[in-house]
């Protein structure tokens, strides 16, 4: 089997891993070496499904010994299997990198033999890239649950980011779907790496070696088992707080295996729900929202019609509308239609004078949403109230992903049909 065939099989096997970021690490090129890492991260291209491609994302091997129900590479699936040799993978990475196709390598693997053996191969690739080829690009290594701490530690020395996927948000469902796994086995490598990173951080010396400079990330599948959004957000909040995760990714379940434990194979991926979860995640990471503000026991699931920021604002009419001249920066951030950039612009601009409606428009504030939640010098006093039940339908209509197309009424055919429906109730 040549490299070309292997690349095809192993890229195909890796595509359900959604993590794509190359950010968070600022690595300077080694002397005589190739490549550096840019802390903002760089997207190199976007695939046909609209997801960005910044790393060469492949598996080292897809010959897995586990049999997880949701996974395309499970033992019982009849798919072509392939395994890269470390040299093939290194050559491929360097060639792609020199042509500026990629930002670095994202290396994952199915478990071949034992977790230790697999992890050893992954570390070997990263080590050789860093030491022999003096490669300074981004390396994302998967930690294999069950691998020995010594190997994980080595991985941390060579990689920029490491990840272990929790996959199923609740432990019980995970053990049901993936008999060889449980949450404990997944959290152990995460915690180990998070602790080592903290130790390295304590050393303030300029010469201290880097340990996972871009931290850790994880991913969970949405819609394969019956968790609520509240459970998912609670879990991801825990990851951000305790394991100091940089990112938690959500992946709408794409049915790949016919399995009686999973939704039927014809299920559409829950894309809107996934989108809303990411919006909620953004609110937690950039807008100072707490997870229990976005959702609570009364509202355990995100509103699919409205983005979580609007939904929150509508649940809190007592806080709106706000005066953009005097409101706190934190409160500006919470206005639907005002993003981080606009909030900063408003906060710095209002020191010099009043901010009026046309200035807001030029700043890029989405006024069709924001107008209900703010007032400015030109707003008449009678409009300085928020009635959620009145504006909710208008906001829902704005956020429809595709507006119903306006149709010319037909005097004879369609109308007749509709009147029929109207006159005759469902009997």
């Amino acid at each position: 089997m040549d490299v070309r065939e292997k690349l095809n099989i192993l890229a195909n096997a890796a595509k359900y891993d959604v993590s794509c970021s190359s950010s968070g690490s600022k690595r300077r090129a080694m002397s005589g070496g190739l490549g550096n890492a840019c802390s903002a991260g760089i997207c190199h291209t976007w695939a046909a499904d609209g997801r960005c491609v910044s790393l060469l994302k492949v598996l080292l091997s897809n010959a897995c010994k586990y049999d997880c129900a949701y996974c395309v590479n499970r033992r019982s699936n009849d798919v072509p299997r392939a395994t890269f040799t470390p040299k093939e993978l290194i050559d491929l990475t360097l060639e792609f990198y020199r042509r500026n196709y990629i930002e670095g390598l994202f290396l994952s693997s199915a478990v071949i033999g034992t977790p230790d053996y697999t992890m050893e191969l992954l570390v070997k690739v990263a080590k050789e890239l860093r030491t022999v080829h003096r490669f300074g690009g981004y390396i994302h290594l998967k930690s294999i649950p069950g691998a020995s701490p010594a190997l994980l530690y080595q991985a941390g020395l060579y990689a920029d980011r490491s990840s272990v996927n929790i996959e199923i948000p609740s432990d019980k469902a995970l053990q049901y779907l993936a008999p060889e796994k449980n949450h404990e086995s997944i959290l152990r490598p995460m915690n180990f790496l998070a602790e080592r990173k903290l130790e390295y951080k304590a050393d303030k010396s300029r010469f201290a070696p880097m340990f996972l400079p871009a931290g850790q990330s994880t991913q969970m599948i949405v819609g394969a088992s019956g968790e609520t959004d509240l459970q998912i957000l609670t879990l991801s909040n825990g990851f951000y707080q305790q394991q100091q995760m940089k990112r938690v990714y959500f992946s709408g379940y794409v049915p790949i295996n016919a399995d009686k434990r999973l939704p039927v194979i014809t299920t559409k991926p829950p894309l809107v729900r996934e989108h809303r979860l990411y919006q909620a995640d953004w609110l937690m990471r950039f807008y100072n929202f707490r997870y229990d503000e976005i959702l609570d026991e009364q509202h355990p699931n995100l509103d699919l019609d409205l983005d979580p920021k609007v939904a929150w604002a509508l649940r809190h009419p007592e806080m709106f509308p706000i005066d953009i001249q005097t409101a706190d920066y934190e409160m500006l951030l919470r206005v639907p239609g005002i993003g981080v950039k606009s909030a900063r612009l408003i906060a710095s601009g209002r020191r010099y004078g009043k901010i009026r409606l046309e200035t807001l428009k030029k700043m890029g504030v989405v006024l069709k949403r924001a107008k209900y939640f703010i007032y400015h010098p030109d707003t008449p006093a009678s409009l300085r109230n928020l009635y959620p039940e009145v504006i909710r339908p208008q906001l829902v209509r704005q956020q429809l992903i595709e507006l119903p197309k306006p149709q010319q009424l037909d005097l004879f055919r369609d109308c007749h049909h509709e009147t029929n429906q109207l006159l005759l109730p469902a009997s």
Partner: protein
């Protein structure tokens, strides 16, 4: 009233502003040479030419830094690189109010009527420069030099050099902006400006090789077929960039058109 012509450089533009103040010119429009070719000027404005003077540009730069700060000068430079028609008059309007001394707080107010448009334009120029870092595609020539052709919307090549110099410090590479007909060549030690009169000859030397083929196949393999979403793709990767991206060239699944459901899907955050 005058139409002032100059050599389309930022220094040239600053010299124009300098001369406007020195000679108390009554200016109606400022027109760079690149857009003046073959287009008759405004018939009600008198043509006037200002030669670039490094000395006056330097003095004006110092004045801007003193009045407003280094970052404002950089914002003006970035906005200038947008090459939008009329950008000169917008920058001039800002400078005029800056030096009028009427409003002491004007200099650093990003939301003033003069600054806000410049601020937004500078933002899009910088955004394109950042995106373009990932969209440069090198091809290997016979002598081992990596060559890339780009056609950005804005004049951002100079913003990108530092990044590639740090990243490929030991390689020889060249990036050529074929829209503005100049490029940068890095020989392993230092970067220099190059002009390539016969671009076809160079691109003919770099036919797609096996690595490019592997990359195209990888690109096709990494997309999840159930989630194909052309609208999102076009939003993230505008069609105007496709010309120089091997993975978007015909002859692969990459041009796969979607089925019915995909048009409705919202974006993936990444």
């Amino acid at each position: 009233m005058l139409t002032i012509y100059y050599d389309s450089t930022f220094d040239g533009f600053l010299s124009v502003v300098f001369e406007i103040y020195r000679q108390r010119l009554d200016v109606g429009s400022i027109c760079p040479d690149r857009s003046a070719d073959g287009i008759p000027g405004d018939m009600f404005l008198q043509p006037f030419r200002v030669e670039t003077s490094e000395e006056s540009a330097r003095r004006l730069k110092r004045a801007i830094v003193n009045e407003a700060g280094e970052d404002i000068l950089m914002t003006l430079d970035a906005a200038y690189r947008s090459e939008e028609p009329g950008i000169e008059m917008k920058i001039f309007a800002y400078l005029k109010r800056l030096f009028s001394g009427v409003d002491k707080k004007f200099a650093r107010n990003p939301t003033s009527a003069e600054m806000l448009p410049l601020f937004k334009i500078a933002g899009s120029v910088r955004r394109e420069a950042g995106n373009m870092l990932g969209m440069v595609r090198f091809a290997k020539t016979a002598d081992g030099t990596y060559f890339s052709e780009i056609e950005p919307k804005y004049d951002i090549l100079e913003f990108m050099i530092g990044h590639f110099r740090g990243r490929f410090a030991n390689e020889r590479w060249a990036i050529y902006d074929s829209k503005r007909k100049f490029g940068v060549y890095y020989d392993g030690h230092s970067a220099s400006e190059v002009f390539i009169p016969n671009l076809e000859a160079v691109t003919a030397e770099t036919p797609p090789d096996i690595i490019t083929q592997l990359w195209k196949e990888y690109y096709d393999a990494i997309a999840i077929k159930e989630r194909i979403n052309p609208r999102l793709l076009r939003r993230c990767l505008p069609v105007r960039y496709w010309k120089h991206l091997p993975e978007r060239q015909p002859g692969g699944l990459s041009n796969l058109q979607s089925g019915g459901l995909s048009n409705l899907q919202p974006g993936v955050a990444c």
